[in-house]
């Protein structure tokens, strides 16, 4: 797969992960670039597209961690920086997920958005399946009152 094909195929995935982690468009763009350039520099031997996808997810998350060390301390409303139109419900849920602590929103994103099975999430994050399940359980617990409150306000 050429560099262009790789970016066109996985660009959205990488950018969405980066944005969910950094909550900042500029930082997400930096991470996006770093992740794909790492692919060229490291030139890993990837046996399948699943491997390539998992590798990119892992590197994107690592780039985010690296980035956090020097990240700007800018507080902006979570969706203010996103150049797209959300419905009020989407904005509420998106904001609620992104407000979770790092490790919880990572598993939520990979499970609910990337549709990755628990086992694969564990392999990518280098944690046990049981730990992934625990994080998912706690993340849902944290989300439920927020989402319930948001939707009750609408009713």
């Amino acid at each position: 797969m050429t560099a262009e094909e790789t970016v066109r195929r996985y660009g959205s995935m990488v950018y969405r992960i980066a944005l969910s982690q950094t909550k900042n468009k500029e930082d997400a763009e930096d991470v996006f670039q770093e992740a794909f350039l790492s692919l060229i520099r490291s030139n890993p031997s990837l046996e399948s597209e699943e491997h390539r996808k998992a590798w990119l997810i892992r590197v994107t998350l690592n780039c985010c961690k690296k980035h956090f060390r020097f990240m700007k301390k800018v507080t902006v409303p979570l969706t203010e920086d996103i150049p797209c139109e959300f419905t009020p419900e989407e904005e509420d849920v998106y904001g609620a997920v992104l407000s979770l602590p790092q490790k919880y929103k990572t598993v939520i994103h990979l499970f609910y958005y990337e549709d990755l099975p628990v086992k694969e999430i564990g392999e990518i994050l280098d944690i046990k399946e049981s730990a992934v399940k625990t994080r998912l359980f706690r993340a849902r617990q944290m989300l439920q009152p927020k989402l319930r409150e948001m939707f009750e306000q609408d009713e």
Binding site: V7, L37, R41, L143
Partner: protein
Amino acid sequence: MNRMNKYRSAMDKVEPPKELTEKTIHLMEAQKKPAPQPRRHGFRPVYGFAAAAACLFFLLAVPALLDSGSGHIFITELEAGTHTSPVELTDGFLLFEEPSGVFVSPGVHVGKRGVKEEWEIARYEEYIGRVVSLPYRPDGFSLKEESATVYLDEDGKVVRDHYQARYRDPDDGELTVSISSGVLPEGSDYDVPDNSFIRGEPLYAGYDPADGRYHVQFMRERIGYLLEARGISQEEFIMIVWHFFE
């Protein structure tokens, strides 16, 4: 958790900016290119988006053959009168980005200070194991001042060091070289990822139109370098930078 469908539909609307995608593809293609034949001048094959982009650039490009003294750097995409266009070297790629405008406190890198001491340049060179003089000095530039400052802890051990040299030419051109061991020197932009490379080594290149300042920063063999210049041409600045990678 049916409400998570709303997270999915929200995320579906999030897409990377097109210009980011194109720039990243360009950088990847540039880094992927095989090393060129030494001293081979002329246009090298480029691939995919880089080829299309290059065609556009070539329409306005002013190819410049620069005498490097020990060879040649053929810049294939140096646009006359511009500062931030991508520049291809025989073994490198430079993208002079404009600053984002976000200031990041240098405090994150400054670290522990300690007792300040000024050292002789020779002593500092011995300490870092490198010669600090310019490997390539543009015509007319002369050294105006230089200093080597170290900070010592209670045991007399160096905890941080900083070398700086200022060069000037009669036309008010200015070049500043900063060096620190182990980290990028103070004054570097710590918040930017590398966007360029020379001879396979990554670096960050920037151009600030507000004051016409070029700058590059990079780590090489555990030494951090920050080169800044005003009042000189982009070609000349590239020559200076390139020679640090010889």
